[in-house]
Amino acid sequence: MAILTVEGLSKIYGEGTTAVAALKGVSFAVNKGEFVAIIGASGSGKSTLMNLIGGIDRPTAGRVTIDGNDIYKLSESERAIFRRRNVGMVYQFYNLIATLTAEENITLPRLLDNRKPDAAKLAHILAMTGLTERATHLPSELSGGQQQRVSIGRALINDPAFILADEPTGNLDSKSSHEIMDLLKLANKRSHQTLLVITHDEKIALQADRIITIGDGTILSDEVVKG
């Protein structure tokens, strides 16, 4: 069953002569629990696609449906709440709130919902990300890899159906990259969370169930890696 369908998605930045068509009518579907890698040359439109799926941008044309919801039919705040509860996002630049501790950054989506962070759940995530010792540290007191683990913890805290990661290992050494990918795969395998990872790293792409290659705003190939 498809949890995500993308239909005819286009995005044009700018207007007139300076207009850049970052996406030119991309369509595909992803099933629940799938691990999909998206690869492509720099500037091919990967991040644009991911931002549109995450609902933080607006498409020029096309539809994104998650779990039966056409997310661009929702109002801005409905989309924010939908994202908070159903989508976990991880970025290359960890994008943590500098004034909040690791623990607070992780629980941010729940705090925004005015829900008490479930202590057991938090302890579990801290343990899983190996941050138990660092829970009360500020982002500036953490290494790059640790910061990225915080942002993965933040993506997982609400048990989202969906995890979107844009070059999550782009800034990290190979050891940290391994740890991060292991974490994501764990979430994918154990909790059957659907995982979309954008990467430049071929080794990471090969771990996925399926690889979508983007080139110049269109899908060049879409192949299943393992049977």
């Binding site: 991040s47 931002n51 995450g54 933080i56 941008d57 801005e76 705040s77 924010a80 709440i81 939908f82 994202r83 908070r84 509860r85 989508v87 996002m89 970025y91 630049f93 994008n95 943590l96 709130i97 500098a98 004034t99 909040l100 607070e104 941010l108 989506p109 705090l111 925004l112 005015n114 500036s140 933040r154 844009d166």
Partner: protein, 669 residues
């Protein structure tokens, strides 16, 4: 604590300098607002005490007198506060656009993000407003003490007043006043945060996830003019100058509040400086010109009505004075220490005359009407002088006692300067005095006194164009000028003489009696003017200084933020070879450019206002317009000093900065 509140709180904690500046601005606004409200409350208490709960007959007029200035000053405070405080929130929100974008990615709604900014304003208000209320009460207390000091001096001069008065303001702590001040300030702060909050809600999530949260700078294509200025700056100030002017241009919005605050200060100070200059000139003009030190006077009440027969407006004196009585009083007063008292009566309103153009000098015709006419209608002034001095005047004019003497002199205010003219030609031999009831009689003019021949007592303000000295007349008022050795004793003596002569009941008022008498020192009026003048100026200056303090918090925080937030930029500049000295030069130039902008706006507006203030004044008094050089100079020096000084202080904090450290720590943000 809610997460939005917590984010607001941590922002306040991180940016201490700005938080302190915002708190100071809020506290000062509240304090000023409290002072204004407290003065209204105290003034109200005084008015109720003096006039009764419903303020008596002129209730609305008094209420207006109390409320209109309060509304004016209140509005000034609110506007200044909104400019300054909203700038604080705007800068603070703009700096965190990346953070707001991240919050969006995590699923924060627009409302949640703007509430982060609103919470900031609530926290700042929660601390700033109570502090301001206390500060304001203290200021109001001091202000009312100062006022009472002035009023005490005024009360001491009550001799000259028609009614004995005892004015004093009591310090009233009114919870209504405090509540009003607190509410106004709270809503001002909330309003100031509201727009930046809405802007924050529109933060772009995409932008903030693209880079490491870099602040995007809008590119502007330089026009021809800007390129020209750029080349000029390059020539004048070198590379640092170009960088400085670029910074000012790029951060136009941040600097705008500073420019507005400084320019407002310049406008207010120049206007106030010129106002005090003009008030002084007015005071000088009002200084009595007579040498006598004490004046006793009598004045009848008057009603004006329209004469039924002729349709002309006429003045009827309730208790007109026969100049013979004035003469008697003059003799009695002279008996005090043997020095002659100068007595002169005055009737300005009973008679008018119509004179043909032939008897009027050309100059005077120009004063009387814009276009030449065949006949001129002129109000007549009748001046009976006491017997002793009348005789002297007759001798001077070379006429017999009993003659009518024309004072051939007219002084008027020509748009700010006093002009003396000789109004009538020798062909003027008689005058037909007409009354509003239609009756008329013709008086021959026996003698003429020129300006040079007139005694100083006859040069008082507001004379009619035609003035006749006579031996005897019924007049509205009479004044006796004396130069006693012991002024206080003479005033007491004069009061008994006046009471005897006019048997007034001292406790009844002017209106019931139909006349009033008093004896006072010649310079009492000038003193009252001076006290009122100084009182008003003290308050205006205090207000402006406090208002400027609000603006000053903005100048300090903008200048500091400008330096501190750009530590990374400076480190980069240093790493490509700019010296510390060059850096300081660049910052000094930035502050100077900012000041020049403020001066370029403030000085013309301020000077224009001083000119506008002078316009009505010089219509009425011989106070010509004087360009406020001193104030323009002081403001220029002041503004340059303030911005340069603050920048200098801020640069000082950068002195020991390590380049690598700065680049490393700031790039991870």
């Amino acid at each position: 604590m809610k997460i939005t509140a917590k984010l607001a709180y941590s922002q306040l904690k991180i940016n201490r300098l700005r938080t302190a500046g915002a708190l100071a601005a809020i506290a000062l606004s509240t304090a000023l607002m409290t002072v204004v409200c407290s003065f209204v409350a105290s003034g109200n208490a005084m008015a109720v005490q003096l006039l009764g709960a419903d303020y008596g007959n002129y209730g609305n007029a008094y209420k207006g007198l109390l409320l209109l200035p309060a509304i004016f000053f209140g509005l000034m405070i609110v506007i200044m506060s909104v400019v300054v405080i909203s700038n604080v929130f705007r800068v603070s929100a703009e700096e965190r656009m990346a953070q707001f974008g991240i919050l969006k990615c995590v699923g924060a709604t627009g409302a949640q993000i703007s509430s982060v900014v609103l919470y900031e304003s609530v926290f700042l208000s929660a601390v700033g407003i109570p502090v301001g209320l206390v500060l304001g009460l203290g200021l109001a207390f001091v202000g009312i003490r100062v006022t009472n000091g002035f009023l005490g001096e005024l009360n001491a001069l009550a001799d000259m007043m028609v009614n004995k008065i005892n004015l004093s303001v009591s310090f009233v702590v009114s919870w209504q006043a405090l509540l009003v001040a607190a509410l106004i300030c709270f809503f001002t702060v909330l309003f100031s945060a509201w727009r930046p909050g809405r802007k924050a809600a529109k933060a772009s999530a995409v932008d903030s996830v693209r880079g490491a949260g870099t602040i995007t700078i809008r590119k502007t294509k330089p026009g021809k003019r800007e390129r020209g200025i750029g080349q000029l700056t390059q020539k004048l100030f070198g590379c640092e100058g170009v960088l400085a002017s670029k910074t000012i241009q790029r951060n136009r919005r941040s600097f705008r509040a500073t420019v507005v605050a400084l320019a407002t200060g310049v406008v207010l100070f120049v206007a106030l400086g010129s106002l005090s200059q003009q008030a002084n000139a007015l005071e000088c003009y009002m200084q009595p010109t007579v040498e006598e030190t004490v004046i006793a006077d009598y004045s009848s009440a008057r009603i004006t009505r329209t004469n039924e027969k002729t349709g002309r407006v006429e003045s009827v004196y309730r208790c007109p004075l026969d100049s013979d009585v004035g003469n008697t009083v003059a003799e009695k007063l002279s008996a005090y220490d043997g020095k002659s008292v100068y007595g002169l009566g005055l009737d300005l309103e009973t008679y008018y005359t119509v004179l043909p153009a032939e008897v009027i000098t050309g100059e005077m015709q120009g004063v009387l009407a814009d276009t030449p006419q065949a006949n001129y209608e002129i109000p007549v002034e009748i001046i009976p002088v006491d017997a002793y001095h009348y005789k002297a005047l007759c001798e001077k004019a070379g006429v017999a006692v009993g003659s009518t003497i024309l004072l051939n002199h007219y002084r008027y205010n020509d748009n700010g300067s006093e002009v003396d003219v000789t109004p009538y030609l020798p062909t003027l031999r008689s005058v037909t005095l007409k009354k509003a009831d239609g009756s008329e009689k013709t008086w021959t003019i026996d003698g003429v006194l020129t300006q040079a021949e007139m005694p100083q007592e006859l040069f008082y303000f507001n004379t009619n164009p035609i003035r006749l000295v006579v031996q005897q007349a019924e007049v509205r008022g009479y004044s006796w000028y004396a130069t006693p050795d012991d002024e206080a004793a003479f005033i007491a003596y004069a009061n008994t003489v006046l009471a005897e002569a006019f048997s007034a009941d001292a406790t009844t008022s002017y209106q019931e009696d139909g006349f009033s008498t008093r004896a006072y020192k010649t310079n009492d009026y000038a003193k009252v003017m001076n006290i009122a003048n100084v009182l008003v100026l003290v308050f205006m200056y205090s207000f402006v200084v406090l208002l400027m303090l609000i603006g000053f918090t903005n100048v300090v925080s903008t200048m500091f933020t400008n330096v501190v937030m750009r530590a990374r930029e400076f480190a980069v500049l240093q790493s490509v070879g700019m010296t510390q000295e060059g850096l300081r030069r660049m910052l000094a130039l930035e502050s100077i450019l900012c000041s020049l902008k403020a001066l370029a706006v403030g000085l013309p507006v301020g000077v224009a206002i001083t000119y506008l203030i002078n316009l009505p004044i010089r219509q009425m008094f011989p106070v010509p317009y004087a360009f406020p050089w001193l104030w323009v100079l002081l403001c220029t020096v002041g503004v340059l000093g303030i911005t340069w000084g603050t920048t200098r202080c801020a640069t000082h904090t950068l002195r020991n900065q390590n380049i690598i450290e700065t680049i490393r720590t700031q790039s991870g943000r």
